[in-house]
Subunit: 234 residues, 2 copies
């Protein structure tokens, strides 16, 4: 019988400030919660607490300062319409306002994306594995828009411990036909699934996703970036 998937919100994580130890905060919140970690768990963390712990916060008291931070974070502007800027970040991600975010931070400070989210994910994974004795994967998520479809969804911007893309090329369907849909961005699906248990206004910044079939291996969210030469929409 196929396994159900379970998504358990990690509650009790308070305000995170620069130099906080995110892995320890996660571990203590998990320990105080209804379930510990088990082998095969995927811990999804919204980037905001990672960015805050890493000090990726800047003062921006005016709209102009916010706009300047967006320009500073952008390595390329893909589209611009009024105040909306779709920009490429240093990581290669293409998103609104180069990932610079004003919500869920107090006062006039804004949060940037982690400088190296794959490295951040690897650190959290390694430390949570030491705390728990389990083999896990870690995904750092953010909320991105997309062309053509209204609304935003959570995607992976940092990954450690698993391949970001589930490559089904060469496998066959029930009729023995080679699968046409062959490369599933499974970490993006997991980030979206985790968001269902977190919610934007509840202050829950992390969740455990349990029951997904995956193989421990190296993997980085950077692999999700489609090279410009293959991209028809820049």
């Amino acid at each position: 019988m196929a396994k159900p998937i379970e998504i358990v919100p990690i509650e009790g994580i308070g305000e995170v400030v620069p130099d906080d130890d995110v892995a320890r905060i996660l571990w203590e919140a998990i320990a105080a919660g209804p379930t510990s970690l088990v082998d095969g768990d995927i811990v999804v963390v919204t980037h905001k607490i990672v960015s805050k712990a890493e000090g990726r916060i800047v003062q921006a008291e005016s709209e102009a300062e916010y706009r300047q931070a967006v320009e500073d974070e952008a390595v390329a502007i893909i589209r611009r319409r009024g105040e909306l800027v779709i920009a490429q970040t240093s990581h290669g991600f293409i998103c609104a306002n180069a990932g610079v975010d004003r919500s869920n931070i107090d006062g006039d400070r804004i949060v940037l994306l982690p400088e190296r989210p794959d490295r951040s994910a690897a650190t959290i994974k390694s430390r949570l594995e030491n705390f728990s004795g389990c083999t896990i994967a870690v995904i750092i998520s953010d909320t991105f828009g997309r062309p053509w479809r209204r609304g935003l969804t959570d995607v992976a911007i940092g990954v450690a411990g698993m391949a970001p893309i589930q490559d089904l090329r060469g496998t066959t369907d029930m009729h023995g036909r080679v699968l046409e849909v062959s490369e599933i961005a499974i970490v993006d699906e997991i980030a979206s699934a985790a968001d269902l248990a977190m919610g934007k206004s509840t202050g829950i910044p992390a969740a455990i996703v349990r029951g997904v079939t995956w193989v421990p291996t190296s993997g980085r969210a950077a692999e999700l970036v489609r090279p410009a030469s293959e991209d028809m929409f820049r």
Copy 2:
């Protein structure tokens, strides 16, 4: 305490053929499975079994016939590169090959998208509610690519019973600041989450997503289509 989310695959659904009663097939498979429906469940069904039941199948013995079917389904070609066609469908969705799919169907037949997937979802919802006595929502999913990011994810192409976008505009975060990320495409996140329990090669075409917070209301996947006038990437 926040609720965990559970995603239960619906197993035991065999090959679906034209004029099959998808709602009854789903209900019988659920009844034979580990859990029945409860109020608030969201049943996610991959479009392929809906399309097959609705007879949205055409013969295509050659590559040329397949290509013709893609052109027939497309109402506008957005980009074309070699064999890859990114097209707008009659529903307004923009996706590879206008949603025409060759996998998970036997022989030389190909599967088109349902003609009116929101109507299909409404029919399935209504009948499953009659069978179960529960208030549920139904999502019909397909697997789409996207610009800028490699890999594909499952999204909603048909919706019944819930708003496709969770509108957080006007709500505030933990600091009392109005949320910047305000419109979450929650049905796309649910479709992606369900895919984690289904898998492309296992032949499981449906899942129950349980524990998501949503309000019963009318809603259609058509609302997810961003109007061309607001879209910067056509």
